[in-house]
Symmetry: C2
Subunit: 409 residues, 2 copies
């Protein structure tokens, strides 16, 4: 008997018909003798409908009240799924985040899980019940309702699996696994059977939408085996686990990309210690995340400083940077949102120094100009003009032998 | 500075436009220097939409899960109203029933409030905030979400007012107060400025839909001054309070009526002690409420026994009674759902014995046959053929000087 946490996203529970189908799927797992906790998102469309209502009243509704509002979306799903399970003759019980003590910090709309008390869930599981938990939500120490932000239901599922020491956390999505890259961009993309947490983390942070980055971090931190599967078709999906020996063979796991990038450059900044902090401090204070950072030595004891942010944050970041530029006596500020990020990811990269140069060679062969480069132990990211996105991804996919035909046998 | 609890029903918050209008109303009260707690229902239509979703999945969804589902309706309203208040520049904070510790028993879908801990609300009020609380819901001692059943938001408001020792509990509805009778039946019906809890209770239990009976009971028990007002027009509404001396002048407060009645008669029952229990016991066990009861001495040591039930319960009650009749060897069973109840209500009645005979005289003058009579300290109810409803109400309204023209100066 295994303890499985399953998570179904908004599309999987997008109608009462689909909720019934999910109930069948959950019941099969339970019939098989496993203990099952199900984490669900709001029905697709529900969140948007609630956001529209709020926006009819105020252009910038407060984060606390938005959390109260949006958390009703998952609450509807947990009750409907429990009703569907009961209709199939299985005992089931629904809980909101607060009810199973998913304790978070008080950062409304992007709260982080601090603690989960799994006792109540365990009691139900031991009594043979299926437990249905609302994803995406919790309560802070004062009992205020919080939400975890986009993709938070994945995090809830992983955190719940960690708290219960589950044998596996299964994330059901509309894709049947993790691919070497997005099949819509590269039709030869291949489904991976296994991938390491680190690789998945880099893929997720570089734009792969299959799993939320925080969920993968959490799973890695607590060594929760994570599996990505399709809600709609059968299959083993992709298992995300700790590094295993076989991974050596495949140098590169996949290619991630992101269209949500924007680049900001501040030129002619006096080059003295602490200038990076003076530039990025106000950006961080405004809760804008900075991704890649490059500083070039300029002329006349000044420096040029470039960084990327999420495209949505560009207007605000630009406004802040213009103020900073004035304060620092910088020469000028430039913004560019016509860029994309492409990243090569793989734990095998560690021991293969030649990968970076092969990457740059492949891109240059296609006349793709690299604007920024950033590397980590298992990832190399480049910023290029957005018009090169498809060409860049396909070029690298082929250059690193990732095509559907199994070349690594 | 007074502490006011205001309650707005589903129609009053039926759209974002109306929610904004409610926010304006609440703000005016707050601007006036009062501390305000607002209790709201689900937006009209929301509950039906949720019920339909559940019914698409199961014909008889479990009460526990329905409570989880339906309680989201009020949760949406509290957040939207808080957002609307904040948009007007007022500090406001929303709470679900569970968050402000509205503790109930565990009778899902018809729970009763056991306790309210008003401390959290007080802290917010003392900080100058408006507190918006979800009506109709609470949590049981295990933290399960419960709902109070139909009209529960009124009860929440009154219970909250009692817990906070509020100066007044204002129930905003789609009528501008309590009338001597339903103005749709008697156009001369007059709005009452004041009425006692007892009278209001009798009016409510005799079919006046303005307030839920449990809310009035609660208000009476804890001496919470209750005011019924219109959400849509200005005015003082009707204040429901403890008996005051002036009430003596008006013998009769109003005339209630109910079309939801049905009459059952069992004839030729052997007349021995305990027969009433044998007849009504099985009805009570089936959770059918019995209203009026009349027993006539029959001939040949048998008796005839008549009682009324809610019209919706007639088929079930009839089936039970037919079985009882067989068991008791009764002669026959009759059912009649073409009846209505008309009731004269007033605390002044206590000291005026002539009222009953005046009532019967007025009805007989119009050839209205009285089928059953039941009296309490402050109410006289009669059952008549439903075709006499309007004529009966108007006749009594005039006979007891209740017409719009102020005759009691």
């Amino acid at each position: 008997m295994a303890l499985i946490v399953q998570k179904y996203g908004g599309t999987s529970v997008g109608s009462t018909e689909r909720i019934r189908a999910v109930a069948e799927k959950v019941k099969r797992c339970h019939d098989h003798g496993d203990q099952v906790v199900v984490v669900v998102s709001a029905m697709s469309g529900a969140t948007n409908r609630l956001v529209s209502l709020a926006k009819e009243i105020a252009p910038h509704p407060s984060a606390r009240e938005m959390d109260v509002l949006l958390s009703t979306g998952e609450q509807v799903t947990i009750s409907l799924l429990s009703i569907a399970l009961q209709q199939l003759g299985v005992e089931a019980r629904s809980y909101t985040g607060g009810q199973v003590h998913i304790r978070t910090d008080n950062a409304h709309s992007k709260a982080r899980i601090v603690d989960i008390d799994g006792r109540r869930v365990r009691t139900d599981l031991d009594a043979g019940r299926i437990v249905v938990v609302a994803g995406f939500q919790g309560t802070d120490q004062d009992g205020n309702i919080t939400t975890l932000g986009r993709g938070g239901s994945d995090t809830t599922a992983v955190a719940m699996a960690a708290a219960l020491r589950a044998d596996e956390c299964q994330i059901f999505t509309d894709v049947n696994g993790v691919y070497t890259t997005d099949p819509r961009v590269e039709p030869n993309a291949r489904k991976l059977d296994r991938i390491t947490f680190e690789e998945m983390l880099e893929l997720a942070s570089s734009g792969s939408k299959v799993l939320q980055i925080r969920a993968v971090e959490f799973a890695g931190k607590y060594s929760v085996p994570l599996r990505v599967l399709s809600s709609f078709e059968e299959g083993e999906g992709t298992l995300i686990t700790l590094e295993d020996k076989d991974v050596e063979k495949a140098k590169i796991a996949g290619i991630a990309f992101s269209r949500d990038e924007a680049k900001l450059t501040i030129r002619g900044v006096p080059d003295h210690p602490g200038v990076a902090y003076q530039i990025l401090g106000p950006i961080g204070e405004a809760n804008i995340e900075v991704d890649m950072i490059v500083q070039n030595i300029g002329k006349d004891e000044t420096t040029d400083f470039t960084f990327t942010v999420h495209r949505n944050d560009l207007p605000q970041a630009l406004e802040i940077l213009q103020k900073t530029a004035k304060d620092l006596g910088a020469r000028e500020v430039e913004a560019d949102d016509k860029i994309v990020k492409i990243a090569l990811v793989g734990v095998g990269m560690r021991s293969h120094a030649a990968i970076a140069s092969n990457m740059f060679k492949a891109l240059s062969k296609e006349q793709i100009n690299i604007q920024m480069i950033s590397t980590s132990e298992i990832k190399i990211s480049v910023i290029v003009d957005e018009k090169y996105l498809e060409l860049g991804v396909r070029t690298l996919h082929e250059a690193f032998d990732l095509n559907r035909i199994e070349t690594q046998a």
